[in-house]
């Protein structure tokens, strides 16, 4: 089968590849770019461990074909920290103990970042609703919700 030429931006850097038409974005990110923050857990779009942000929208990268994101701008968990500092969400997840095995964490943080990008000060109810997009099998969700609220309050107090 013929390969397809795609080019897009990942964490503010332009990339271009010849990809297989049936290649998922998750495979491209992990295997071609070595961005292994996004994980494949269910592979069916149910769990959210593979979430990345494409043009401001959180997407399950296991359900997206790489040719579909031609020309898009993609942010992965690796692109969050700036100049060696962690993103406030990452700090809050550490402080509040919202990580146990860590497999779901990158997806959780990307979903939370997309929420905070469109809603600077979400209520607890809104956070619970958005974070229900992702599944965690170890810590439970209380600490994750606390961490997102903590990051939101820190961000707004700074601004």
């Amino acid at each position: 089968m013929k390969t397809i030429k795609v080019s897009f931006r990942v964490n503010d850097e332009p990339v271009a590849f010849q990809v297989r038409p049936y290649e998922t974005l998750l495979e491209t990110l992990r295997e071609r770019l070595d961005l292994i923050g996004g994980k494949e857990a269910c592979g069916m779009g149910a769990c959210g461990a593979c979430t990345v942000i494409v043009d401001g929208i959180p997407l399950r990268s296991c359900l997206v074909l790489t040719p579909e994101v031609n020309g898009a701008s993609i942010t992965t968990i690796e692109g969050l920290g700036k100049d060696g500092n962690l993103h406030p969400l990452q700090e809050s997840f550490m402080e509040k103990g919202a990580v146990q095995c860590g497999f779901c964490t990158s997806g959780m943080i990307m979903t939370a970042k997309a929420l905070l990008d469109r809603n600077k000060r979400p209520s607890k109810k809104e956070v619970v609703k958005t974070m229900s997009s992702n599944i965690c099998r170890c810590t439970g969700y209380k600490k994750i919700i606390e961490a997102v609220l903590d990051a939101a309050s820190k961000e707004t107090s700074k601004a």
Binding site: M1, K2, I4, R20, P21, Y22, E23, T24, E40, G43, M44, G45, A46, G48, T51, I57, P58, L59, R60, C62, L63, V64, L65, P67, E68, T111, A114, K129, T130, S132, S133, N134, I135
Partner: protein
């Protein structure tokens, strides 16, 4: 899970997408959000030679008012529709069903057209190829039997769209474009009632628009599921009330939703409809909940939804 080999094509407009389909010898599938199609392809339940991406077709991304109807382009995502002012104001049942669909991240990807045309589901169908081979293929996989109901002559897979139910309660229609031209039908006429091939679509047809009569309504949507997020409905009931008359739509049981008219808003009419819905529901043991429970809940959720819709109207 690794995808099988297929080709990727992009439709620039509806006509070119149909032309691409015609050039594929019937082996292509249309791709919109991909939240239903890609898992099916991963499980080898669908093996297209090519996918035709419809996401780039701009006219299908618009919501507009025309001639007393709200016209929703098939490419509008569920999240965009949920946050649209008119939907919340005019169609509360649709708002609630959009909100109850899966989770926010998937609502941002899934489109209204794709949500209506999602494939029917069954506990013994949506499984890996190895699992299905070991069990033996059922009607829906091209086999000669039903794995849920022995000696059945039909397929009992469930149609799991939340939003089709509320749209039927709002008397919506859909516009289809295909190699033989355009046609407009009522949404409830889209269903064949056969789980093997649940839609009355001709080969190569694309659902382009959903038309909802723009008339203020009160309504509600009740959904039965195990988890409060991500899950498909195991039973869904949508109710919309306009001008003192109501319309109830029950889905999630069997391959086609069932609609009932509510003559007036009296308690006796409500009881009658709820009993009829329960009586006509034919659940089989192809979900994680027992058929008996789902049958009983049909009456409970219908009463609950209608009562809530009436209360909002006051």
């Amino acid at each position: 899970m690794i995808l099988p080999k297929f080709d990727y094509k992009k439709g620039e407009d509806v006509a070119s997408a149909i032309a691409l389909y015609e050039g594929s010898k019937g082996r292509a599938r249309y791709l919109a959000g991909g939240t239903d199609l890609i898992p099916l392809v991963k499980l080898r339940l669908s093996t297209p030679g090519a996918v035709i991406d419809l996401k780039g077709i701009e006219p299908l991304k618009a919501v507009s008012r025309k001639g007393g109807s709200l016209i929703i382009g098939a490419n509008v995502t569920l999240f965009e529709l949920k946050t649209h002012d008119l939907v919340r104001e005019y169609f509360p049942a649709l708002y609630e069903s959009l909100d109850a669909t899966s989770c926010e991240t998937l609502q941002m990807r899934g489109t209204i057209g794709g949500n209506i045309l999602q494939n029917t589901r069954c506990l013994l169908y949506n499984k890996s190829l190895d699992w299905r081979t070991a069990r033996g293929f059922c009607y829906k996989m091209g086999g000669e039997t039903c794995n849920v109901v022995p000696y059945a002559v039909a397929c009992f897979s469930n149609y799991c769209s939340d939003n089709a139910l509320s749209l039927i309660s709002l008397k919506a229609g859909v516009k289809l474009a295909g190699p033989q031209g355009e046609r407009k039908i009522k949404l409830e006429k889209l269903f064949s009632g056969d789980g093997r091939d649940p839609f009355m679509l001709k080969p190569g047809e694309i659902l382009t628009e959903v038309h909802v009569p723009l008339k203020r309504s009160t309504g509600a949507y009740e959904k039965l599921r195990v988890r409060n997020a991500i899950d498909y409905p195991l039973l869904g009931v949508a109710v919309s009330i306009q001008d003192g008359k109501g319309r109830v739509c029950v889905g999630g049981i069997g391959p086609a939703p069932k609609a009932y008219d509510l003559k007036d808003l009296s308690a006796s009419a409500l009881k009658e409809v709820a009993k009829q819905a329960r009586h006509e529901a034919r659940p089989v043991s192809n979900t994680t909940l027992s058929p008996g429970y789902r049958k009983k809940m049909t009456q409970v959720l219908t009463e609950r939804a209608v009562k809530r819709a009436m209360k909002e109207g006051k």
